[in-house]
Amino acid sequence: MINISACQFKYDKEIIIDINSLKIKEGEHLFLHGKSGSGKSTFLNLLCGILEPTTGEIEILGTKLGSLSNSVKDRFRADNYGTIFQQFNLLPYLNVEENISLACKFSEVKTSHVKNMKEEIESLLDALELSVDLSTPAMNLSVGEQQRVAVARALIGKPKIIIADEPTSALDSDTKESFMKLLFKQVESQNSTLIFVSHDKSLSSNFNTVYDFSDINKTQI
């Protein structure tokens, strides 16, 4: 479902990404291990269509990203992706419910997968074992709570691809474990493809595919 071939990305004439071939199957749980500065972030930006490869092609769900106009690409991202960052995932001035439902504001596809927004959000939060009032402003939540809300937002509308970029780095080890467990459970129940990027190899145990990013990216930085 994700097919990357002969893809290069240059910034200031310097090659940052150089991937010969990478295939990710539908429903695959991919752990991408990489140090900071290894080009992971750039890779994820390419994968989401925010950056365009200098040469080569990225094909996702049968669509070549390079063939899409910017606005169609934005729409494509809204429809098919759920994203979790390491922190600052939420708009601090929106409450829990608004933050989660924001994902559907940009996507009719996601909206069509949600019958009743409030019930859907409540059941997601329930499954993520988070009990907070939906009207709590995001800035009043702890980091652990924020990350779970972020997961709920990534999952809502059942996008095909979930991208998680160091989502646990701001969490302590206890919360880390339960966070991973819950994330996995939900991703599996939705049958989404998970691309999980982290420098922490101890998290890789449950993944069916583990790659070292430096093996994929031929560039030596």
Partner: protein, 407 residues
């Protein structure tokens, strides 16, 4: 969608937002307020004296005559023979005439010697007569009429006794007591600061002064008032014509009057000329208020830039959710649009309240006129253009950062 996000985002930064709105509002108050007051002031100034066809004095400069006879500033004019006045006032074309003599002062206020006709014929603001707050026109020989500021400043009431001084000097006519016979209502004209006495009374008390020395003539005030004293000279006169079509003829006649060097001044013309001399002052005011507006725009920009770093994260979040670059751009434009709109609305309310409470003696309008609305629209456009700067910056960030903000 944009509006909701902007609204929530603003709610989160109320103080900074309100400060920006307030600084725009202040600049709106200044810009419109100055414009409005200047405009009202101009029309009032140009109507300092109206319905008078001609002011006559002995000088070559029309502004000099206007300054001396109407505004009571200037170095004084040459005298006009009273006989010339009598002769001119008998011209066929003349409907009314009022003699004026200036040059005396009373406790720092200028004294105008004239007669009761002055208050019948002097008009301002297109046909308003000088009205009396208390008392009325000259009745008694020793009556004085005070402008409202004079009465207020000196604490004089109707019936109070006053002693006038001679010329601009400290010589006070101690032996001749005048009585306040009338106090004028405020007209926001030079008349508010004047003391009026009758020409014949002025002449009478001056008889006792010769070459700067007091000469006691041993006459009682009562007797003096019954002597039929005619002034020899006056400073000038106001004229009304029967038919204002004849104005050029009469002007010509007076300017070529055989007896003396006289000049007829058409008030509206001279006032316009005088106003032009002062209009650079108005330009300076407008320039200053324009700068205040520029300052307000910078305040707005700096407050938007200060939150831009924080916003980078929000931009990344929105981008990851599928928000287009256009939407990010609109969020910024929307915010500054709201700041300026808020500032304009608030500024106008503030200005109306200010105009209401300031209680100007001039009638200053509460609502913006067409020209002011154009000004507001221009301000709005400038602000929206200015907001493009942080919006472009945010656009760059959104391309450069992508989803991962390295802050």
């Amino acid at each position: 969608m944009i509006f909701n996000l902007t609204y929530k985002s603003i709610l989160n930064r109320k103080t900074a937002f309100l400060l920006s709105v307030f600084s725009v509002a202040i600049s709106v108050v200044l810009l419109l307020g100055i414009e409005r007051i200047v405009k009202t002031g101009k029309s009032h100034f140009l109507n300092t004296i109206s319905e008078t066809d001609m002011i006559v004095g002995s000088s070559n400069g029309s502004i000099e005559i206007l300054l001396n006879l109407i505004f009571h500033i200037g170095d004084g004019l040459n005298e006009v023979e009273y006989s010339s006045y009598e002769e001119i006032s008998k011209f066929d074309e003349i409907e009314w005439s009022v003699p004026i003599s200036v040059g005396d002062s009373f406790k720092g206020f200028d004294v105008v010697s004239t007669n009761a006709d002055f208050f019948i014929h002097y008009q301002y603001s297109s046909g308003k007569l000088l009205e009396f707050e208390e008392g009325d026109n000259f009745n008694d020989f020793y009556d004085v009429i005070l402008g409202v500021h004079v009465a207020k400043k000196l604490g004089l009431k109707l019936g109070d006794k006053v002693h006038l001084s001679h010329g601009n000097s400290q010589h006070v006519h101690k032996n001749r007591a005048f009585k306040v016979g009338g106090i004028l209502k405020k007209s926001a004209t030079p008349n508010d600061d004047l003391v009026f006495m009758q020409l014949k009374a002025g002449e009478a008390i001056h008889m006792e002064w010769q070459s700067g020395y007091f000469v006691d003539m041993q006459i009682s005030s009562e007797e003096l008032s019954h002597m039929n004293i005619q002034p020899k000279q006056i400073s000038g006169m106001l004229l009304g014509l029967k038919n204002s079509m004849q104005i050029l003829e009469v002007e010509d006649k007076i300017n070529h009057y055989r007896g003396e060097n006289l000049k007829a001044v058409i008030p509206a013309k001279a006032l316009t000329k005088l106003y032009k001399l002062m209009s650079s002052f108005q330009d300076v005011l407008m320039f200053i208020s324009g700068m205040v507006f520029v300052g307000a725009i910078f305040t707005m920009l700096s407050s938007m830039f200060s939150t831009l770093n924080e916003k980078r994260r929000e931009i990344a979040i929105l981008r990851s959710l599928g928000a287009s670059v256009k939407l990010i751009f609109s969020l910024f434009a929307m915010e500054s649009f709201l700041i300026v709109l808020g500032g304009i609305v608030f500024g106008n309310i503030l200005l109306s309240v200010f105009v209401f409470y300031a209680n100007f003696s001039l009638h200053v309008s509460y609502l913006p006129d067409f020209y002011e609305i154009v000004m507001l629209v221009v301000m709005m456009a400038i602000a929206v253009l200015a907001s493009v700067i942080p919006a472009i910056k945010s656009y760059r960030y959104s391309l450069q950062d992508g989803l991962m903000v390295k802050v």
